[in-house]
């Protein structure tokens, strides 16, 4: 009996060591830094984002008309993204990254609304913190404020169709949207520089625990909304 347990412990330790060994080649995942995209790509990603941002403004107006009392929730979604993207959290890869916080807004107001709010967060960080950048703003908006929110929104709608509990759908939507943002970032870098698999392995691994954390925090807020703002959630067709 004892040897069996000992064996198991040894095996677990070996697997863990192997995993950690793989992870030491870490870089961590965050926005693409200023000047790190060649000019045509910088312009290209910027151009791709323009229609989404424009549609985002219309989407916000539509949502507010549809549910005027939800305006205050819109402010909160922006603020939530602000908080979460300021939290650099250590990850199992031995480096730090931060969540995006855009899943909540995508679930409540749809992905296009989050394009605008995400743009604001990214601008703040690019201008004041030298984190991300103006020349890479387009690429970063695409990953964090377009691709991530769209995936979050799709996951939420799909899971709700299958009658999954709202909290489960919220968790999955926020966590997967967060992860997807960094998958897109890796692809954006991989397409230009090669080494797609390298970027993907590094970025995705770092982000996994953070994505789970973001999912949980989004559920925290959603729990409160579900109890106290049911009317607004119905008006926004979230529930």
């Amino acid at each position: 009996m004892r040897t069996v347990t000992a064996n198991k412990t040894v095996r677990a330790a070996a697997v863990l060591a192997a995993l950690l060994g793989l992870m030491t080649m870490s870089a961590s995942a965050m926005h693409i830094a200023e000047g790190m995209l060649p000019v045509p790509w910088a312009i290209g990603w910027g151009a791709v984002c323009v229609p989404f941002v424009v549609a985002g403004f219309f989407s916000i107006k539509k949502k507010i008309d549809q549910a005027p009392r939800a305006k205050i929730l819109l402010a909160m979604c922006g603020a939530f993204a602000f908080v979460l993207s300021a939290l650099k959290i250590p990850s199992v890869s031995g480096s730090c990254s931060h969540p995006t916080g855009v899943g909540l807004g995508a679930i409540l107001f749809g992905p296009l609304t989050m394009t605008v709010l995400g743009l604001i967060v990214l601008l703040f960080q690019a201008l004041l913190l030298a984190h991300g950048g103006l020349t890479t703003l387009g690429a970063n908006v695409f990953s964090m404020a377009i691709a991530g929110p769209i995936l979050s929104w799709l996951v939420y709608k799909l899971l709700r169709k299958t009658k999954a509990p709202a909290a489960v759908a919220v968790f999955a939507a926020a966590a997967l949207g967060d992860l997807f943002t960094y998958v897109v970032t890796s692809v954006q870098l991989g397409v230009i520089n090669g080494g797609m698999v390298k970027f993907l392995t590094i970025f995705a691994v770092t982000q996994i625990p953070l994505a789970i954390a973001e999912g949980l925090l989004t559920v925290v807020i959603f729990n409160v909304l579900e109890k106290y703002s049911k009317t607004e959630l119905h008006e926004l067709q979230v529930l």
């Binding site: 830094a33 200023e34 000047g35 922006g78 603020a79 031995g94 520089n193 970027f199 409160v224 106290y228």
Partner: protein, 98 residues
Amino acid sequence: MKVWQKNLILILLVAVIAAVPLWLLPDAEFGGADGQAEEAITELNPDYEPWFEPILEPASGEVESMLFALQAAIGAGVVGFVLGRITKKPDRKAEGQG
């Protein structure tokens, strides 16, 4: 289970998720990211020259952490304000239904 109890558990879980890497990897650097991403690019593409510099760079790590704290504080302030607003409802009936 009450909402605050559920949420307390979820928040504790998040704290655990953030703390476990520190405990698992006592020797890791937990460095900031952009720099490392840049390294990866230079490694793959040694000829690449960044063609644009940040317009404003925080004067030091201290200033940068202040700005990040400020960002989180502004966000948390607004989130707290809104949560306070929506959880204080004069009309008790609506709460009863939830």
